[in-house]
Amino acid sequence: MFIQQLVNGVSIGGIYALMATGYALIYSLLGFSNWAHGDVAMLGAYIGFLCVATVRMPFWLSALTALLGAGVISILNERLAYRRIRRNNAPTMFLMIAAMGLSVTFQNMVIVFLGPKFRTYPPVIPVKAISLGSIKIGVLDIFSMAFVIIAMSLLELLITKTKFGLAIRAASSNMITASLMGINIDFYITLVFLLAGSFAGAGGVLLGLKYTVYPQMGNVSLKAFIASVFGGLGSVRGAIVGAFIIGIMEVFVSGFITSGLRDLFTFGLLIAILLIKPSGLFGIDIQDKA
């Protein structure tokens, strides 16, 4: 049972991780919680669904379209809302509120134009589970886990080892000065939103395959937010670790104590960690030097 629950936890954590990555990426650059991230994932899931079920494209092409589509939507968010707020030099809280507004807008846009129905992907990938002794592992879980690990490793390399990474870290620290050093801020921000949006799209498609597609499915991104705080805001690695901590924690509390108190334990652990490490497990805290 313990091992089965661990498997369950890792599987849920994987989904959270996928959502948390894009979320952390944007946080690291613009310093705000993009509450619309989950809804971009939701739109990605719908795009993929419509491609597969209505247009009858092959799955791989549909998934790709979903990734790109979500990326483009994410860029549009930045272009139409966030960029203007950034230019106004408004506090970062404004970005977060705008994201919340976008989240409400997207969810209801789907309800109005596509209907509030629940939808399921046709079985393009086997949903079967393999048994290892008494342990059952979903094929889809293995597939999504592999995707998560590969995508994360590439991203980690991108951020720590390339000029792209240096540019976004510099920009996140001080945009005006970064542009004074020759960094094309708008370009890199667009790139980051594309990347984050595509991650969200991938997450959306995976969520759709595993569960169902519906307008509120993006609300899991709240877990991504919590995961990022666990790991240290803005740290992609931290967000991933945090995602798995939450996934496993939730499953263990649900499995061994009671689901009714699940959130209590999750937040209890969160506060406990923050009391010891005020900026999360991997967050760097540059003290405000007087």
């Binding site: 599987s11 849920i12 209907g115 509030p116 129905k117 589970a129 169902t212 499995g255 689901s259």
Partner: protein, 362 residues
């Protein structure tokens, strides 16, 4: 009051979730009513007057629903309101319906407190079409022990839902009274989508039946995940299962499982209505559409019995309903509780179709 006896339209309100995460039901209910109103008007209306349906959004939220109810009564001057499918919304609206003396007919809201308050006092203006949790819980438990010969049961409950917790409570009571044993009750939250942590606890206990008192979207997920984890037990559920969507979402995983509901789209009598609905709106109807249909006809029936368009007269006529025949079965109102007494239908899923098994009373 006699809001509008003189006007030549009869305005009936509908409160339901027209936006937000539960809009599936609210929109279906309103559509259903509009379709029905059209039908009634084509056949000459009620007491020679045309029916007009006014739907307002209550978001499935008690506060919004109360505001919507107030607006329907105070601004739109409706003489009765149908809705909602959420007990929480109706419990909040019931005292106001009493204050304003406007009948309120709940649809799938199943908490006893919708019509009878904390202290057992009747809300005179509050009615409902669907049945109450204790009733459905009892039927399910009795069906499990008597028909399925189940000795052991497990339950997975949506702890955030009054519907799910209510059904669970009364199922346990009856199941144990019938000599069965509830091996485990696990909690989960809707919106979680992944129930494997909870189901993994059920799997090794091998219960005969598993009660899944959820809404069909979650039922589909729970069923699929339960099978994935090797749970072979028969799954049981209530009227939350009642949607064609369930078949495509979980078909094989639910093969041979049962649920209780009102007579609904699995009932051949509803076929013409379902087709008309599909023709009009281009989508399959949800059960809430049938509630809208029956609610409106019920009001027609009562008004015609009362012989005049007046909310209080309507209330009295509703209270004295005997054997009103709707698409969801016949309704006879118990004047002490305003709950309809009607049999509960049991359906089975067989080769990915709903199959009517029979009517049961506990």
């Amino acid at each position: 009051g006699s809001n509008q006896a003189k006007e030549d339209v009869i305005k009936i309100g509908y409160v339901g979730a027209l936006s937000g995460d539960t809009a599936v039901w609210g929109q279906a209910g309103l559509n259903g009513m509009k379709l029905t109103a059209k039908e009634i008007n084509e056949k000459g209306g009620i007491l020679g007057k045309k029916v007009e349906v006014i739907g307002l959004d209550g978001r499935g939220n008690p506060v919004d629903s109360v505001n919507a109810f107030n607006k329907l009564v105070d601004e739109e001057k409706v003489i009765a309101v149908i809705g909602t499918n959420f007990s929480s919304c109706n419990i909040a609206m019931a005292p106001i319906a009493d204050q304003k003396k406007i009948p309120l007919i709940g649809t799938a809201c199943s908490n006893p407190k919708v019509t009878v308050d904390e202290n057992g006092k009747l809300h005179p203006y509050s009615f409902r079409i669907g049945f109450i949790d204790p009733f459905q819980g009892k039927v399910l438990a009795t069906f499990a022990t008597k028909e399925l010969k189940a000795k052991t049961a497990a339950i997975i409950t949506d702890i955030g839902s009054d519907y799910s917790t209510g059904l669970t409570e009364f199922f346990i009571k009856q199941f144990e009274q019938n000599g069965g044993k509830v091996l485990i009750k696990v909690d989960a939250h809707s919106g979680d989508n992944d129930f494997r942590a909870q189901l993994s606890k059920i799997a090794p206990l091998n219960p005969d039946v598993v009660l899944v008192p959820w809404i069909y979207k979650d039922v589909a997920l729970i069923a699929n995940q339960a099978r994935e984890l090797g749970i072979k037990a028969t799954l049981l559920g209530g009227d939350g299962w009642d949607s064609k969507e369930l078949l495509s979402m979980a078909g094989p995983a639910l093969e041979g499982c049962y649920y209780t509901s009102q007579p609904s789209f699995a009932n051949p009598a509803t076929k013409p209505y379902a087709e008309a609905y599909k023709k009009e709106f281009g989508i399959n109807p949800e059960t809430e559409a049938l509630f809208g249909h029956d609610g409106l006809y019920w009001i027609k029936d009562a008004l015609e019995r009362a012989g005049k368009v007046d909310p209080t007269a309507l209330k009295d006529a509703l209270e004295n309903t005997k054997d009103f025949k709707g698409l969801m079965g016949s309704i006879t109102v118990d004047p002490a509780t305003h709950n309809p007494t009607k049999p509960c239908s049991v359906y089975q899923i067989k080769s990915s179709q709903f199959e009517y098994v029979g009517d049961f009373t506990p």
